[in-house]
Structures are given as structure tokens and as C-alpha cells.
Amino acid sequence: MLRDDATVEALQNASHMAEVRGRSLWADARARFFRNKAAVGGFVLLMMIAAFALFGGLLSEWEPDFVDFSLMGANASEGVPSFETGHYFGTDSSGRDLYARVVQGTGISLMVGVVGAVVAVIVGTLYGAIAGYFGGRVDGTMMRAVDILMSIPFMFVLILMLVIFGRSIFMLFLGIGLISWLDMARIARGQTLTIKNKEFVEVAVATGVHPLRIILRHIVPNLLGIVIVYATLLVPNMIIFESFISFLGLGVQEPNTSLGALISEGASQMQYGVLWQLFFPLLFFVFTIFAFFFVGDGLRDALDPKDR
């Protein structure tokens, strides 16, 4: 839904990023990355959010699914955020501890984002690398297929799939990942075209190494830089995507939750004096996405040293 073609474009043209991996390039990139304040800030924030998702539950005084029946229906007055009651973020409309649920939601949203991005990146890279490596008619057919798939309104198809096959986290990953691999395939193909003429690939071909082995051993590792950048920028889009699915009621099953589900619940309650139900999940949502954007931009600048 939020495909960023400008980034795709930039990555497709970034020919020097595909240079043979060497110690100095990565060391350089690292140095450049750490000089970028926004990127470092984003990185620290991201680590903090990840730590919150992993270990935040230890600080919670309540289980995420525990319903306090005395708070049900008395949310606006009794369920306010407070350290005394142990509900640091207040409670949700079913009388559950919002802090524990935000911890869980952050974890699930991160997982959906990361797994979705990984699926997209793996499928896309392999597909693109194969097309680029073999070239000719194989390339033509495979990329034409990508063109065709690009014209399919996948958001609609995903809604259909979730409606039809019932919702599960697996379907969500699969669906979201499948929607996003197309751009990755294009990028990977473009890069492969430059790499394939390098000496080390030609040597491998001359010595009779199996083509699939060449792709996996020689080409894919050299795409790593670009893959990482793309994946980092993909994760926040996946998370936004998931929130939309959750809004339609097709997201994860209760009592599990995601940031999207929490936000959509909070948004529906916002006029009823329980604004914290929207505020806390939204805060973590916004921070997570900010952090990924900054880290992604930083990585791109670090790995693609254009003079800006």
C-alpha cells in the first residue's frame, strides 16, 4: 500500500552498492552510519523498543489477558493510568492491563513487520537474482510476470484471502510478504545484472559450478547491503499495513493483540474519556515506525555514499 518507488528507484540505480564485499566497505559504512545522528538515535530507540517488547512483561504486574471484572464498565474512572494500581498505562475496555497488552502488541507488530519483510526479501532476492543471472528469455518471462503481478490490487486480494481462509498470523505473514516481494525482485535483478559480469562470477562459470550454487554462493551475498536497506525500510510499511488489516477486524485473534488492533480499539473509544487507550499504543506505533525510517535512511546513506 505504501510502496516507496523513489527508494526502489534509488536502490535500482545504486550500482556501486553491489561492489564486491570487502572489509573496508562494511567498516566504512559502519563509520558513516554512526556519524549520522538521526540514524543512531533511531537505532537506540529501536533497541529500546525491542527490549520493551522482549522484557517489558517482567515489569508488568498483570497478565495481558487477565480481566479485572471490577474495572469493566468503570474504565473511565477506575482504569486510569496509575502506578498505585499497577496499571501503568491504565486498562482497556475489557478491564485488562494496557501496559501488558502494549508490550505484547509491540512484540507482535514487530514480529509481523520483520517476518513479513524477511519473506518478501527472501522471495524477491532469489527471484530477482535468478532472473538477472539467467537473463534472456528467462529474464523476460520472469520480469513480465512481475509486471503483471504489480498491476493486481493486492490489498483487495489480501482482504479476500483473510476473509476466505480465516485469519491466522501465518496467513498474515504470507499475505503481507507476498505483496511486497515484487519490488525486491526488481532491485535484486538490476544488481545481479552488474555482478554477473564480474571476474569472480565468470571464473565460477568457467570452472563449471552449478548455476544455482553460483547464485546462492556468489551473487546473493553481494546483494546483502541493498537487501538490508530495503528490508529495514519495508518493516515499518508492513506494520502500517498490519494496522489497516486489524482495523478491518481481520488481524490477530484475541486475547493476543497487535499495536494496530490496540490503536483501532482506542480510536473507537476516544470520545469516551479513555484517551490513554489510544495514546499509549499510538505512541509505541509512531516511535517504532520513526525508528525504522531513521535507521533505514541512515543505512542507505551509509551504504550508498553519495555526496548529499
Binding site: 500500500m1 505504501l2 510502496r3 516507496d4 518507488d5 523513489a6 526502489v8 528507484e9 534509488a10 513480465r144 509486471d147 503483471i148 504489480m150 498491476s151 493486481i152 490490487p153 490489498m155 483487495f156 486480494v157 482482504i159 479476500l160 484471502m161 476473509v163 476466505i164 515499518p236 502500517i240 494496522s243 489497516f244 482495523f247 478491518l248 494496530g260 490503536i263 483501532s264 480510536a267 473507537s268 476516544m270 470520545q271 489510544l278 499510538l282 506505533f285 509512531v286 515506525i289 520513526f290 525510517f293 553519495k306 555526496d307 548529499r308
Partner: protein, 307 residues
Amino acid sequence: MLSFIARRLTVAIPTLLILVVLSFVLMYTAPGGPFNSERPLPPEVLANIEAKYGLDQPFWKRIAVYIHGVIFNFDFGPSFQFKNRSVNDIIAQGFPITLTYGFWSFVVAVTVGVSLGIAAALRQNTWLDYLAVGISIGAQVLPNFVMAPILLLVFTLWLGWLPGGGWAGGQWQYLVMPVIALSTSYMASIARITRSSMLEVLNTNFIRTAKAKGLPTRRIIWRHAMKPAMLPVLSYLGPAFVGMITGSVIIDIFFSTGGIGQFFVNSAFNRDYSVIMGITILVGALTILFNLIVDLLYAWIDPKIRY
């Protein structure tokens, strides 16, 4: 150029066919049917209905009849849920609405986004830049299902300035909130893309040369920097357009505008097969068309590209 268009259009046909078959198969395997309800219909009543809509036919025959109808009569069949309406009726009713607020959102997103981006780029690292970047990032991450109820509370309940929903033939009062809610995140993306590509262009040698020659800044921006800086923005417009059509689901739900978004979600939940298919095909065709337009514009702006 013409051969390029022709080639793209020939790809469009198999694409649409794939889309038809894909959605048809998806729905065929779906549990439930358009005529299920809390109270199951007596078998003889159900049989009458299924006969009327051709659901008693085998799969291959149904899909063949459907594709035949679409191609030769441009007939997308009757709606199963809305008993007195055909898919063509529904699209004819809802699509102009979606298109109207989609168009205005698009205009707002592009003009505001581009202006904001350019302003930020020209005043890089000033308060204006930070403000623009801050606004655009904030706007991009605020989901529109949060934005919509906030707008409603502020403009309808508290200020009482705008009607809380409806369409009324597309009068401006009814358009304001849908357009704001739909355009914000795209406006933000466009602003970010414009800013970074403008910065990049301003650092290129030919702009430096122009500056060195002492040309006035305004002239440099408009005559020289604008065109190349717009290329990345242009390539974003395709996905932005599709995103807006998808986003119409949320607009229709919150502002009861009666566009096709609401029809789509509804028909997916109610298994109104023909309406789902009709809308999916429509959106697919539009996506293809829009991508083609964007590519042509691209070639027009960037003389390096030849089709």
C-alpha cells in the same frame, strides 16, 4: 511510443484475466455463500435462488459465462446481495463518488506535498525545514482510521462547521474531511520524496553552474531543478493512487460517502461474488492504466528515457 503503449495494453489483458480467475477461484473455495444467513433457507427456496443466479452450474461453466458476459456485453452480472441491482449499477453509483474525493485528495496531496518538500529543501536545516519534516513524518504514521474520528470530533461535534458524513452530490462541505483524511499520509510521503530529491538536484553540477552564472534562484528552481526533481515524485504517484483507492474503504466507513470501498468490504464479507469481482477488476484496470500514464509522463519529463 505507440508501440510501447500497445505492448503495455497487450500485457494488460492477461493481467486482467489472471485477476478474474484468481478472484473467482478464491471465492469458489470460500466457506459460506451469498445466501447463507443465521436462519438457513429452506432447501427449495435456496434452490430457486441458486438457479436464478446460475450458482447451480459447475465451476467451469460459471467462469466461462462470466468472462463471456464481461468481454462481450460489458456485463458484470447481478449483485447477489442487493437483489434489485446489478454490479454495473453499483459501480456506476459508487465509483464516481470514490473518484471525486480520490481526485481531490490526489490534487491536495500533490500540491501541498510538493510545495512543502520544495520549501523544506530550499530552507534546509532551518525551522521551516524541521517543521515540514516533522509534519510530514507525523502525518505519515498517523493511521487514517485514527485521523478520521479525530476530524469528526473536532469539525462536527466541537466546532460544528462540517456535516459528519454523507455525500449530498459532492458539495464541498461533504468533501473536506474525506479529502483531509485520505490525502494526509500521501501528502507526507510526497513531501519527503520531494525534499530529498530536490536536495540532490540542487547539489548537482548543472545547478551549481547555473548558480555560479548568477541566474536568479527562482529561475533556477523553476526552469532547471524542478523537472529532474519531480521524477521520483512521479514514480510514487502510481502506488499513491492505488493506495487512495484502497484507503477509500476507510473513508466510506467513517464518512458514509457511499463509494466503492464500502461496497467492496461488504461484498467480501457477504460473499457477493459478482460485486467483489467487478470492483477487483475495476481497480486492477485502473492500476494498469495509471501506471501507464505515469510511465508516459516519465518519458515526457526525462528525455533520457525512450520507449
